[in-house]
């Protein structure tokens, strides 16, 4: 089905690239990192993935591959056999947000199609037969919907998706049924965190049937003050309604963050300036540094750059540093598996080189 040789080379190629969500372009990109829309789909003639044997998983993968083959997307999409990748490579893809953690740690034949710009990711044999996502830099939901909808339209011409008049697109878990859609916006909210307003935002969003998750790191911990806002329900609202549900609230959160930044600048600019300068200083000089501390300090520096307190760094570079200092990326940079202590030393070395250059 897939050749081992060219796949590995291509995966290494991603390392030097700046994926879509790191571009730091698009509307409001100082606060909004990225917009993402995911659709869950299942083939009507196969059991859901957890009951699918290896033969059926292979047949599902072959059908998706064939459906993509003659599409306008095909030249850009490269398939990766995730079940044949090393643990390090799988975590590398998780850190780049191209596959889910569950998919990385799953079992059986699994495939992901990604493009070189890292806008598309199509997971085959995740919890559902198909989990496809489109990522855009900045706050850019409508274009993301157009791209994923086109992809879905194309696949639908070649595949028959499980669908019910009442429950909509049928998924392995009833929490995703209906549109099968999850709309997510990733935000950087350091000033909201400093001014302790996150709780208030959480409560407000909950009432609107929206979910907030911390990003990066294990579980739901928010590292580097990154939060992801997404829709809680997927059934009973149309796709544009769900997009509006998430999209309409984002400007209000951005406003919160801008007000908090303004407040910090007005009330205690010296303290803030001190805080971001010290963070920058540590990142430039540390000899060993954990991923957690790096994220925490980079978050301050990122805000400092946007407030004009630090110069000589741009948004894409900063975004990239968040990614390149993640555990799997540090190991890929060095080219070998490292334990945690060695990772911390290599991470510090890398930061010194990048920030003092």
């Amino acid at each position: 089905m897939l050749q081992e040789g060219d796949r590995v080379v291509k995966l290494e190629d991603l390392m030097g690239r700046r994926g879509e969500w790191l571009r730091g372009e698009g509307p409001e990109s100082d606060i909004v990192m990225s917009s993402r829309i995911r659709l869950a789909r299942n083939l009507a003639d196969f059991p859901f993935v957890r009951l699918a044997g290896e033969t059926e998983r292979r047949q599902i993968a072959e059908r998706v591959e064939a459906a993509l083959k003659d599409s306008p997307f095909a030249p850009h999409l490269m398939p990766l056999r995730v079940d044949e990748l090393s643990e390090l490579d799988r975590h590398f893809l998780v850190e780049r947000q191209l596959i889910s953690r569950e998919f990385a740690e799953g079992q059986g034949l699994r495939l992901v199609f990604i493009d070189h710009q890292e806008r598309y990711s199509i997971m085959v044999n995740e919890e559902d037969h198909l989990r496809m996502q489109v990522m855009r830099s900045g706050l850019d939901l409508e274009p993301a919907w157009k791209l994923i909808n086109d992809l879905d339209d194309h696949l639908e011409r070649h595949l028959t998706f499980a669908f019910d008049e009442k429950f909509g697109y049928l998924t392995a878990c009833p929490t995703n049924v209906g549109t099968g859609m999850r709309v997510s916006v990733m935000l950087h909210l350091p000033a909201v965190v400093i001014t302790r307003q996150m709780d208030q935002i959480f409560r407000g969003l909950e009432k609107l049937e929206l979910v907030v998750r911390g990003l990066f790191g294990e579980g739901s911990q928010a590292m580097g003050d990154f939060y992801q806002v997404s829709n809680q329900v997927s059934l009973g609202r149309s796709e544009p309604e769900l997009i509006a549900k998430v999209g309409d609230v984002i400007p209000r959160i951005i406003e919160y963050e801008r007000k908090a930044r303004e407040f910090l600048m007005n009330e205690s600019q010296e303290n803030l300036h001190d805080r971001v300068s010290r963070a920058f200083g540590i990142l430039k000089t540390a000899q060993t540094i954990s991923s957690e501390e790096t994220m925490h300090l980079l978050s301050s520096v990122r805000m400092g750059v946007h407030l004009g307190l630090i110069s000589g760094l741009d948004t894409p570079t900063l975004n990239e540093l968040f990614l390149l200092t993640q555990p799997a990326h540090v190991q890929k940079l060095v080219g070998t598996d490292l334990d945690s202590a060695d990772r911390n030393i290599e991470r510090a070395r890398f930061l010194r080189k990048r920030l003092n250059g």
């Binding site: 003639d45 859901f48 639908e156 909509g168 049928l170 809680q232 329900v233």
Partner: protein
């Protein structure tokens, strides 16, 4: 019906089955959350909202809105296509095939209402419509029968089934 812990109306009807003997519970949203998050292995930090966990737990451990005596009957229902029982679903938290939404419609409808607040899909429809999907459901059963035939070393039967699948696929 009122919440068991306060005067608000009970909107979550939970049949707790974890202890073996089903117990019926009726809570308002707040107390349902409190109940569902206690004693469960949940991330306690505020980053993940509880609503999502409630949905997850309803799917995994509980049947909503069903009287205790009905539970046994519902649990024993089995999908003729993929073979899972409703009991399997409650323990796995995941369905076995698209047809389960037909077989377990009664049970799933109240669960879906609790999760989404709605039970009627609105939005995109596949161009082929729902019928095309339903017609293909038969293939799930045939694929399962092939697996079973191969296990029993009934290779002739397996090959017949393969032909049958091919026929259906080509007619579509």
């Amino acid at each position: 019906m009122k919440c068991q812990k306060c005067d608000r109306p009970a909107t979550y009807h939970i049949t707790e089955v974890a202890s073996g003997t089903p117990v019926e519970l009726h809570f308002c949203e707040e107390h349902a959350r409190e109940y569902l998050s206690s004693g469960q292995k949940l991330p306690t930090d505020q980053m993940t909202q509880v609503t999502e966990q409630v949905a997850e737990h309803l799917v995994k451990h509980l049947v909503v809105g069903k009287a205790a005596e009905e539970l046994k009957r519902l649990d024993e229902q089995t999908c003729p296509y993929c073979g899972i029982s409703f009991h399997d679903f409650r323990h796995q938290g995941r369905l076995g095939c698209p047809y389960d939404y037909q077989v377990f419609r009664e049970q799933l409808e109240s669960l879906i209402l609790n999760i989404h607040g709605e039970t009627q899909h609105k939005g995109k429809q596949p161009s082929k419509g729902a019928e095309a999907a339903t017609r293909r459901t038969e293939l799930i059963r045939l694929r399962r029968e092939i697996k079973e035939a191969v296990e029993r070393e009934e290779y002739e039967r397996a090959s017949q089934l393969r032909d049958q699948i091919q026929e259906i696929e080509e007619s579509a």
